[in-house]
Symmetry: none
Subunit: 239 residues, 4 copies
Amino acid sequence: MRDAHAQPRKVQILEAARTLFAEDGYDATSMADIARRVGVVEGAVYRHVPSKRDLLHQVIASFYEPLIDSATDAIASVDSPREKVAVLIRRQLQAFTEDRLLCRLLISEARSFDDYYDSEPAALSRRYTALFMDAFADGVRTGEFRSDIPATVARDIVYGSIEHLAWSSLTGHATLDVDATTDQLLSVITIGLSSTASPAADGDVSLGGLVDRLEAVTERLEATAPPHESTTRTPNEAR
Amino acid sequence: MRDAHAQPRKVQILEAARTLFAEDGYDATSMADIARRVGVVEGAVYRHVPSKRDLLHQVIASFYEPLIDSATDAIASVDSPREKVAVLIRRQLQAFTEDRLLCRLLISEARSFDDYYDSEPAALSRRYTALFMDAFADGVRTGEFRSDIPATVARDIVYGSIEHLAWSSLTGHATLDVDATTDQLLSVITIGLSSTASPAADGDVSLGGLVDRLEAVTERLEATAPPHESTTRTPNEAR
Amino acid sequence: MRDAHAQPRKVQILEAARTLFAEDGYDATSMADIARRVGVVEGAVYRHVPSKRDLLHQVIASFYEPLIDSATDAIASVDSPREKVAVLIRRQLQAFTEDRLLCRLLISEARSFDDYYDSEPAALSRRYTALFMDAFADGVRTGEFRSDIPATVARDIVYGSIEHLAWSSLTGHATLDVDATTDQLLSVITIGLSSTASPAADGDVSLGGLVDRLEAVTERLEATAPPHESTTRTPNEAR
Amino acid sequence: MRDAHAQPRKVQILEAARTLFAEDGYDATSMADIARRVGVVEGAVYRHVPSKRDLLHQVIASFYEPLIDSATDAIASVDSPREKVAVLIRRQLQAFTEDRLLCRLLISEARSFDDYYDSEPAALSRRYTALFMDAFADGVRTGEFRSDIPATVARDIVYGSIEHLAWSSLTGHATLDVDATTDQLLSVITIGLSSTASPAADGDVSLGGLVDRLEAVTERLEATAPPHESTTRTPNEAR
DNA sequence: GATGAATGAGATTTCATTCAT
DNA sequence: CATGAATGAAATCTCATTCAT
């Protein structure tokens, strides 16, 4: 009879796999290791999981799904695309920094398969980053974000930066100041992506930042104050 | 008797390893695979390479070293830190996009080792990204780049973005338009990193810029605000 | 379904290893040989033994341990140190002669490792020979054994002799008459070690040394002085 | 052109093999190791030696042969069997203690072959120990040594003891005092083997045995010494 | 559901030996 | 005589997976 407090086997196995995959990597973790950690024999694992590969997929899913859900909720409660993006970045950086597993697994292991594109983890990853891309596309429509940067490029910039930052903190023998780094990353990225950035891209760029700020104020004025006359200017069509 | 046109064995082995590591990954490639591709038996490989791990290191080095050399040359011929950064980014994105191997190996495989930080590839990687960080630090001194972003964070943002962009193009079943993407990335990143972007921009930012900005804001305000009404709203509530 | 009469696998493996190590030596025996003899595949052996080296240790232990136990019992039932020594020698010679394995393994194989001194077999060997050294030390205290021979030297003489005797019978294509040999060895060794043999024999033992000297003189006289009458006595035909 | 001081290749190879076999053991030494030490490639070794096994034989021979020669000379210059034995023991112990190689190779490696008995090293070993056995047999004839101990048993006792003593000093993390040990071993063994030892072998060695021996000496003196002449010769010049 | 044993394939690595040059 | 490359066999060990109980 199982202890009432004990998790069902399936959950125990997932947790063991999660931990071990995280600590040692997918290849370096054997099914025997997982079984031993759960306290059963190798064969018993196969009652609950059809294969090691599938186990990896489940582990990844068990991370992504709550993340997707909570992120979906979180961005539903804010309005502006810019803020949605900020929320997503902050969450992601926190998640990666807090959980070595998430980071390592998603970065290093999950992608090693030839059929990655068609895999379940890839689908989850797409569902997840779609949240960002949707927010970004919204921002492009509202004029907050540059229209000359494809959403996929924006996504790669954002998630690539986050991954590297998290990874550096992982292997760099140094602990990351999540809050400071988040602010820095947010600042760099949102400024770089904001619609006001594009026109200044090639000119005398040293003024760009200052202009950005003034422009931001102006945007807000534009958005709130009823225009004296209908504004027919489409911003950010430059280039 | 070896064909006069043939490469020395060592080079053949390195090339075979490079290709196979790239296509299948390090773990999924066996020494037997490499030997077979070269056309010798397994044991013969070990006359030229002491171990599989070392072979990986050599493959990585054989990519990094020319890259470092040519990048060093390239940035020596331009003056401004900003341009150096631009050169580095463009090259890196090109290199990654042109060579699946470089990308995959550096991103997914090389980092899987516990002792990555102390490994030869990591040292090369640091030597390589040091080029960027030095240029960035120079730019901070000249006022071109923001002083509120640590060079390591800047590095992670840049190389993380590049990696993800290259990776997406790799797995995304789509070919990347390197030129367009480079421009986009450069635009986003250099703007995000430029000193004018910094909210705490240090005083020495030139007066001329200030004048320009004031001019621009004035223009837009003129277009937006109702002619004779005092605007009492506090600016700078962004985010 | 395993035969009811069959030993557990672990025991089968140990026995196979014992036999093969004995017949062919440790290096010349492969895990595949052992597996084949047991009737399983190579990998199956590793479910029961962690490594070949460990298997050797276990085989050695499976010989030493009963030997130590029974020898401990045996010497507990006799009183005088001299008799204890006799018991130990007789047992050891019997054990070595009866079991080629014990002999070969202990003599030739087990010692081949650099780390022999710190190994488990070495510890067992020390535990075993400690029985002898303790008895010898007792004998020194009671005056039965010479005090001018360190126990370690006595041990080496005793066990070295036994080993060589057993080894000779092993490779010499001749069967050893254990009883006769034991008697001979015992005689030589106990006399050589007895306190009466010691030139510097303490106290009442000095008489033995005196006799030695007398004997020596006699020998020289016999060799130099022309016998008064023809000596027809063959000396030393006793026994 | 080879340096005039350089040894011929063959000798270099033998020396390299000797050293490496000694330090690492036969199995653990590869032909490549030997070649590397000599400074040639693997294949070159086979110009001079037909096989690794043969190389071992030659190495062993290169030790045994001078040993046999010098020992033969040494015992030719002393008269009594007892002294010959003493010389042989002293030399052997010194040789073994001075040269780890001799010891290790002869004890552990050389004997590992199934065909040891018919091998060249075994023949050399027999030639070598024959010196001892001859001297012992002589001593039996002259009455110096017990006739109830077969020469082969005496040989095993002597060489077994020496081996163990040398081996202990090798692995025992302690340096052997050769002189002291030689004296101790000589004392134990020559006493144990001397003819006077046998009668007392089984009786109680205490006073009763002493009386027996005194009796025997007296008898022999009576038989040897001229009847009415005082013997003024100092006793105790033995050895 | 779990156990324990087994499988069979494969991985990396080592090595004595050969041979064309 | 030497080189350098190759061979081919073998050795130890690992592991995902299966299956009778």
